[in-house]
């Protein structure tokens, strides 16, 4: 916490919950547009349907808890949860998958614990992980990127959401998944033979990540959050993937650039781990928090059973956040480090 060293009058900071949430929503737009360009309207349909469901669940929970509905709905936090979860869900998810995820996120992870500000875990990631371990088949089939398969139109995308099993065959393993399954090809061959890998982080994925990076940098510039957690996470991920690159072998874990620009790296770094409620609070704490998430992401991606790891890493570190805060309490002004006067 920075100490105020000026005498009054002080200008009041205009940051309200609503404004902060609105900025986060705006910052996701470039990423959503790129996702839609490469993977079709699926993500857009997810978000449209998911937002309606999320607001409905939020209103229901607020009504049951006897809280003012309009006041809490207009802080947009439910909408942010809906956007984050729906971006993370595979495009063309069926409606019941989205509804189950939203119920888990809004009711279980948020309101069971006391609503916004009291949730120890990131609601969107709780929803995602519950879906991932409950419905592994639906959750691990991601749409094929533009150029490798025909992308369905908007109407077809809506049908995919609400009618049972309208089409399959447009899904494909993600680059992270292919790299994990690979046991015979060298990294170089993988990139030159499989068009899925694109230039650095996978066809489509690299641009999606760059778009989320841009949105995240704008949020830092807007002072929605500090740079500590994202930079620490990205730096650790880079460091570990460089240390264990082993590019000449088929067991390689992938290059730093691949890890930075594939899967949910940038989305996680700037939109998930920066959640002010469930992350560590002190600046030093955020560095540790981000760095450990980066390490966990690399370990789970390369050694774990699931292709991507952001959600698991974030939830594990959510557990640790109060502990980190306890040991990184900043020194109070006027007290020595050991707390004496």
């Amino acid at each position: 916490m920075a100490l105020m060293r000026l005498s009054s009058p002080h200008a009041h900071g205009p940051a309200s919950t609503q404004r902060v949430m609105l900025k986060v929503l705006v910052a996701t737009v470039p990423g959503i547009l790129i996702l839609t360009w490469f993977f079709g309207y699926g993500t857009l349909v997810n978000i449209l349907f998911g937002s309606v469901i999320a607001l409905a669940f939020e209103a229901l929970a607020l009504k049951l808890r006897g809280r003012p509905i309009g006041f809490y709905l207009s802080d947009l936090s439910a909408l942010v949860t809906a956007f984050l979860l729906c971006i993370a869900l595979p495009p063309y998810s069926p409606w019941w998958l989205i509804a189950t995820g939203m119920a888990s996120a809004i009711l279980l992870a948020k309101h069971f614990y006391g609503g916004l500000g009291y949730n120890p875990f990131n609601p969107a990631m709780v929803g995602y992980v519950i879906l991932l371990i409950s419905f592994p088949v639906q959750m691990t089939s991601w749409a094929a990127p533009r150029g490798l398969a025909a992308t369905p139109g908007f109407l077809e995308s809506v049908q995919a959401c609400f009618l049972p099993a309208t089409f399959d065959g447009i899904t494909m393993a993600t680059p992270l998944d292919v790299l994990k399954q690979n046991s015979s090809l060298l990294i170089e061959d993988l990139w030159s033979q499989n068009p899925l890998f694109g230039r650095w982080g996978g066809l489509g994925w690299e641009w999606v990540n760059i778009a989320f990076l841009a949105g995240g940098l704008w949020l830092i510039q807007q002072r929605v959050f500090t740079w500590h957690a994202p930079i620490a996470m990205l730096a650790t991920l880079t460091l570990l993937s460089a240390l264990f690159y082993d590019g000449g072998s088929s067991a390689s874990g992938g290059s730093p650039l691949f890890h930075l620009l594939s899967g949910a790296t940038m989305f996680g770094a700037f939109f998930i781990i920066t959640d002010p409620v469930s992350s560590a609070v002190s600046l030093r704490g955020r560095l540790i928090y981000g760095a450990l998430i980066g390490a966990l992401i690399y370990i789970i991606r390369v050694r774990g059973n699931y292709p991507d790891a952001v959600a698991f890493a974030v939830l594990i570190m959510n557990f640790a956040a109060p502990f980190i805060d306890y040991y990184t309490q900043p020194r109070t002004y006027g007290h020595s480090k050991r707390g004496e006067q």
């Binding site: 189950t100 519950i130 419905f135």
Partner: protein, 237 residues
């Protein structure tokens, strides 16, 4: 110990002091084996039998066991009862025995059983002790079965699958498909589902309790406004 009424014992075991959702004892088997109704019934019946046997035996020997060695003695009695039940299940319901696995012998360490033995049976005569074992066991089993039903329904969309494991070939077609074309919701069957659904049952119980209390309060006569009372501490309602 004051005289205990059988009605109080039933109410305590089944509702007011339910071992599973009020005392929160014996959660390990409760959470581990309630993936389906048949497992829940199997473990529930085994627990009832162990509770009745142990409460009866403990009550019978309560005057001849010294305080210093009472706990080891009780545990030995419980372990003996569990072993009998385990062998019985191995003989008659072998497949269920295999499914329940380690959780059958683990009934020995179920806190409900030792808790009732030391807390109730060791201080009461045979009749109430036996009945308390039965009531507590029923309360525990009821929660097991409700939880098993909820998790099976949420997890697979069907109820009463594989009942033949317990009731023989007669029960082979007892399975009810409640929701056809249901996508299995693995979370409900996995351990986290057990925690979430146990929490929901506790919520439901507390909700019913508060509704009952509200109704009783409404029936009570209200104090006359303006009547003078001595204020002690805290808020006066």
């Amino acid at each position: 110990m004051a005289e205990v009424s059988y009605k109080d014992l039933s109410v305590n075991g089944l509702w007011k002091n339910n071992p599973a959702i009020v005392q929160l004892l014996g959660l390990c088997p409760l959470l581990a084996v309630t993936g389906s109704v048949v497992n829940a019934i199997g473990l529930g019946v085994a627990t009832i039998m162990v509770l009745v046997i142990s409460n009866t035996s403990v009550s019978l020997i309560r005057n001849v066991v010294s305080d210093a060695v009472r706990l080891p003695t009780f545990v030995m009695i419980i372990a003996a009862a569990v072993t009998c039940i385990e062998l019985l299940m191995q003989a008659f319901t072998y497949e269920l025995f295999q499914i329940l696995g380690i959780f059958l012998p683990l009934i020995t360490t179920n806190c409900v059983i030792l808790g009732r033995a030391d807390g109730f049976a060791a201080k009461n005569s045979l009749g109430p002790a036996l009945y308390d074992g039965l009531a507590m066991g029923m309360g525990f089993a009821a929660v097991l079965i409700v939880l098993g039903g909820m998790r099976e329904l949420a997890g697979t969309g069907a109820l009463f699958a594989n009942m033949d494991l317990l009731f023989g070939s007669l029960a082979a077609d007892w399975k009810i498909v409640v929701l056809p074309n249901y996508e299995p919701f693995l979370l409900a069957i996995l351990p986290p589902g057990a925690f979430i659904f146990t929490g929901l049952i506790i919520v439901l119980k507390n909700l019913i309790d508060s509704m009952i209390k509200k109704r009783q309060d409404a029936l009570k006569e209200r104090p006359i406004k303006g009547s003078k009372r001595v204020r002690v501490t805290g808020a006066v309602s």
